[in-house]
Symmetry: C2
Subunit: 777 residues, 2 copies
Amino acid sequence: MQETEGGDDVNEGFMTKSTLNSWKKKVDLKRLKEVVRADLKPSGLTVIQLDLSLSLSLSLSVCVLSQKWMYGGLDSNVFLQYLAWVTYPVVLITFSAGFTQILAPQAVGSGIPEMKTILRGVVLKEYLTFKTFVAKVIGLTCALGSGMPLGKEGPFVHIASLCAALLSKFMSLFGGIYENESRNIEMLAAACAVGVGCCFAAPIGGVLFSIEVTSTFFAVRNYWRGFFAATFSAFIFRVLAVWNRDEETITALFKTRFRLDFPFDLQELPAFAVIGGFGGALFVYLNRLIVQFIRKQKAINRFLMKKRLLYPALVTLLVSTLTFPPGFGQFMAGKLTQKESLVTLLDNRTWAKQGIAEEFDYIGHSQAWKHPQVNVFVTLVLFIVMKFWMSALATTIPVPCGAFMPVFVIGAAFGRLVGESMAAWFPDGIHTDGTIYPIVPGGYAVVGAAALSGAVTHTVSTAVIVFELTGQISHILPVMIAVILANAVAQSLQPSLYDSIIRIKKLPYLPELGWGHHEYYNIRVEDIMVRDVRYITLNCCYRDLHNVLLTGHLKTLALVESAESMILLGSIERAQLQSLLSQQLGRPRRLQYIRERAAAEKKRLSVVSNPGSEDDSQRASQEVRFQVRVTAGGEMGCGGKHLWLFYICWMKWEEKQLDEQVNFNNCKIDPAPFQLVERTSLHKTHTIFSLLGLDHAYVTSIGRLIGVVSLKELRKAIEGSVTVKGVKVRPPLASFRDSGTSSSENEATELHKLWDRHKSMSLPREHTPSESDEKSQ
Amino acid sequence: MQETEGGDDVNEGFMTKSTLNSWKKKVDLKRLKEVVRADLKPSGLTVIQLDLSLSLSLSLSVCVLSQKWMYGGLDSNVFLQYLAWVTYPVVLITFSAGFTQILAPQAVGSGIPEMKTILRGVVLKEYLTFKTFVAKVIGLTCALGSGMPLGKEGPFVHIASLCAALLSKFMSLFGGIYENESRNIEMLAAACAVGVGCCFAAPIGGVLFSIEVTSTFFAVRNYWRGFFAATFSAFIFRVLAVWNRDEETITALFKTRFRLDFPFDLQELPAFAVIGGFGGALFVYLNRLIVQFIRKQKAINRFLMKKRLLYPALVTLLVSTLTFPPGFGQFMAGKLTQKESLVTLLDNRTWAKQGIAEEFDYIGHSQAWKHPQVNVFVTLVLFIVMKFWMSALATTIPVPCGAFMPVFVIGAAFGRLVGESMAAWFPDGIHTDGTIYPIVPGGYAVVGAAALSGAVTHTVSTAVIVFELTGQISHILPVMIAVILANAVAQSLQPSLYDSIIRIKKLPYLPELGWGHHEYYNIRVEDIMVRDVRYITLNCCYRDLHNVLLTGHLKTLALVESAESMILLGSIERAQLQSLLSQQLGRPRRLQYIRERAAAEKKRLSVVSNPGSEDDSQRASQEVRFQVRVTAGGEMGCGGKHLWLFYICWMKWEEKQLDEQVNFNNCKIDPAPFQLVERTSLHKTHTIFSLLGLDHAYVTSIGRLIGVVSLKELRKAIEGSVTVKGVKVRPPLASFRDSGTSSSENEATELHKLWDRHKSMSLPREHTPSESDEKSQ
């Protein structure tokens, strides 16, 4: 009954000193312990991560408690209270943003989009360094401590991956398998799988969620590793609990106690789920819109660029002003933290008939939802609407933060709203066939949370997370249906939040094929490939190399046998070719040439005038030094016939060097680049690209290089057909295929050509009569 | 209290008529409904499968009930009772075995090993036909109806895949995407994922289990499809339930009501799990031993081969004799079906202090475990031991059946045994730090079931299945730990049951890499590849083709540019080459040749003797016919100079034909076979093979073919190093690598060779001076 007191205080619009003090006392230790446990419970991968989680949770709790304390201690003056309420998050967020910005800007944001990209095989520099680790951990702690609607799921995935990467790097000092690159990718995949399991007490759902958001194809053996790590960390927690003589064992974080297996009627489900889906899509859209709006507004942008920390501070100020409990916050349960909101939303009782409900003293936070003047429905609607845009806005702040938890809470609130409406509509439950199904709004909240978070992230494993969080699995069917329907709606409207961020950040990505786009089976590689492939031949000269390097942008170049045969031999990285070229024409070679020339000159001079050889040699070396200065600075305009001659000589030398054949001996060649066939379907190409994490693949026809497909072309092809939905899109070049020249015929012709060429080469006299004639004459 | 009556009857060794009748009455409709629901609950993929499941369940229930009825009606005479008890399963199993044998022997067994092989890309003929479908469904129904310790999980995976395959085939009649092969593989993968979800009320666990046992790499988009299908079928069931005005909704099949989150002490867990692991490995070993024993014993084998149905009948007779309730069955709860056993084993109460426990009338089957003379521990031990070998034996019967459910029951019994022992040891619970943890043997049973079934199948998702089956998720940590530890033990001792069957059946497979075998990163493709590759050149003649086809066994042959360059151009299937050869030398060509010769002969004759041309032409056509007969039958010994000459001519023609260059124009060439590099690690090779479902891959070095790796070599390499555990095995050829000639040097040399060759080819006058000299002279 202590809590109803607190509730009355809220009714007065302010909190009295006594209530706050009692509340503070109650909170202090219990809360600290609770918060610590909540975060720590199933931490991850290794004990290291557990320690990290522990320290993170501790500092987090300290943050939250000190804000409460500051706010609580100043209850005599509303203005001072407001200052305390607002200053704290602003300072923390600004610090977090500044710290991250200075130490490692890569630590900003969720980290899931980046991990997804890295697991695709793309090397993102600086994303897995110790600096990023420190920035992420400290930045995340401050950001979460600020009480803004931010999540920690994504950052935990990133932190787990950072731990794995750093551990690998550390272990590789001792040699052994940790040096292996594919081994590292495997460890990263397992670490990602652990990430979310560390956030909630959800080892299974967490692992599945992480798999869904980071992988396209998942190795079952990593799945196994993820479960092992998640379970191990949960086990460690249990051991710690035994040591601490803590009676409570690992349990669900937000335990529900619904007595019904099917807490709502069949007919509501689809509508409910569809709204969840639209809500999810809207969230992703809104988030992207805000980012794009800020980017487009050049005036704002320039201003914000100059004062990088102003944007976070302004956003935080806005959000915390609106949630100020004695102000607007009283209409939207502003004083509750995310966790408290969730606990109250999943409450077993019905709020609409609150006075009547039994056992009302176990958690007092529900009182925050009840305002004396305002209906609970209004509070809920305000909460949903305000939190919706606040979360979408807050996740654009450049601090380490995720969006899962805010979305989860909004979903729960939405579900609670529907549930309460139903309960108000049918206060005695729904009668069907003589049985009464009482309405349980908490059940609606669970379904809503799973559906909205599933829709935003495009995953179905939120259903499993929900079971683990609530400790109840009996309502499995409605949750699964809602999640799947919400997913179907959201997927057809918007990319997932993570894919949206990937696009915004312009990371290399491969869009998902989506549902029921059958045209992917009809589009072929020959329709989308680039036919004008940049290549170098085995007997090319350095000039060709130079020309090829000047044009094009692909990271690798194809190596073919000759321009006529076009037989693909391998691929060479651009950097390798550049080093080859610089070896041939670079500083050392030039210096060497000059030295040689100087020596020759000297010889010539010494032949002309034998005496004064010492002086001569001195002059020669001076000359060399001078010439070097000239070549280094380009044409300096300082004339002299000698220099002019030398310049011409010099040019000739360069030309000669460029005309030499390239020696590939010291060059790293990928001797078996991935090859596709013209007739490979877009669907299969997509599968292969995502399976093997390819960046590009050559299209060959019986050894002959005929094209190249890179991620860019693939992306264009997929997104091009996605935009025109429902209609079976003809790929731009598909008509060529139908008009007589079928691919197999093409192939036969190709083969024929090759065969002819080959014949002529093995019987060279037919091919080179003029040459042999010349010789014989 | 009705049930305790029945229990007393058991105590007397027989059942009185009245009890049985009352039991029968109670059973009849309720049981039928229950059994139907149990099987039908979350059926799969489509409504078709639901209907199938319904009919299967119905017939199954009829089977079980009629046995009970026959057995019950004959209680006056033990011998007649025995006959009724035994005849029924023997007849059903024999029918099932015979029916399957006649209609489609491919329907025998679980089907998971075959599906795993098919999903790897191997085409297994006849495994996805309508015949197999019918045989599997009817055979499975009879086998399950017999009451033998057989499971239905594997067959359901197979049936779901059959549905998908047949549906695809049916839809492909209307054209469109269903004709696409990779689309079909995807549908199969989704169907497999649905399979197990149909068996229990376990949509999530079922999908995860199916993924674990059938895939090495899983596409996340199929995961999504699996959940959708499983949820859809559960939803359909719910709709049916509403139509039938059935109040009960979808719930857990074996609902538990444990009041403790952590039903046992920390210290027992590892020991418990290790025993589970050893048990699992033992089961797989025993199962394989029985199969191999029967195969090896040639005398037995020959006998059994002659009378195919004798083996199933004998095994069934043995098992059902031992479980006969008035006989030995009374000591091992023989009268309980698998489902009943499981329900009683997961019972909330403690059996060791049975008299005292409360609320004892809700299920009466627990009484079967209590024998007046024999301790419940003895009954449990007997049950475990007997069921263990019975299940291992029964799963070798050639009927459609799985082994998951029997193993699950044995695991539960084992867990119950441990739990009851603990309860007897600590009747007041375990005291720690002033708190009392009462022992809940049912909790031990849940953990045992998950651990043993996880160990046998090498999966961790049995933990999820257990949560869904029991409807309780609170004991998540002990279950996860036990499953993971049991897995670790079992995986290090034996392959999974399905892999074991794959090996017994000699299906093409790729062993898993297993845990912590780091040497895979050190072995390279060059150490294991076959260097003596069979190849054909672009300008080869038919004779070469003929010779190549006579030797070797690989399904495909490499096509290289020439024997000197060895540049890989593609691969050709053996069958294609055979058809090329037969086109050149086959019947139509021969007939044509004969006709041409005959025409030439005729012309010659008509030149010699102008008159009598009609007679001549008649003679010529006769000759042709005769010669055709001669060539068709080979040398027939009928001489004649004309014939002899013709034969020589004929031989010459054949030689000439063989010496002609092959025309590859009408030949289907795979223009981009998969290529590896010498330095690819075994680990990466394994990943690529299992990712892409390859059968073989060529090893190339800058375009040059230098070796081939097939599944066989890979298997040998992996299993070779697996046998020597703990020790870092040096691969047989690894020493070559270290001794000076590093691969990159090798590569450089290769490149050099190619370059030299190329130069000499593009400047032919250096190469062919003699030819040009000849010409000029």
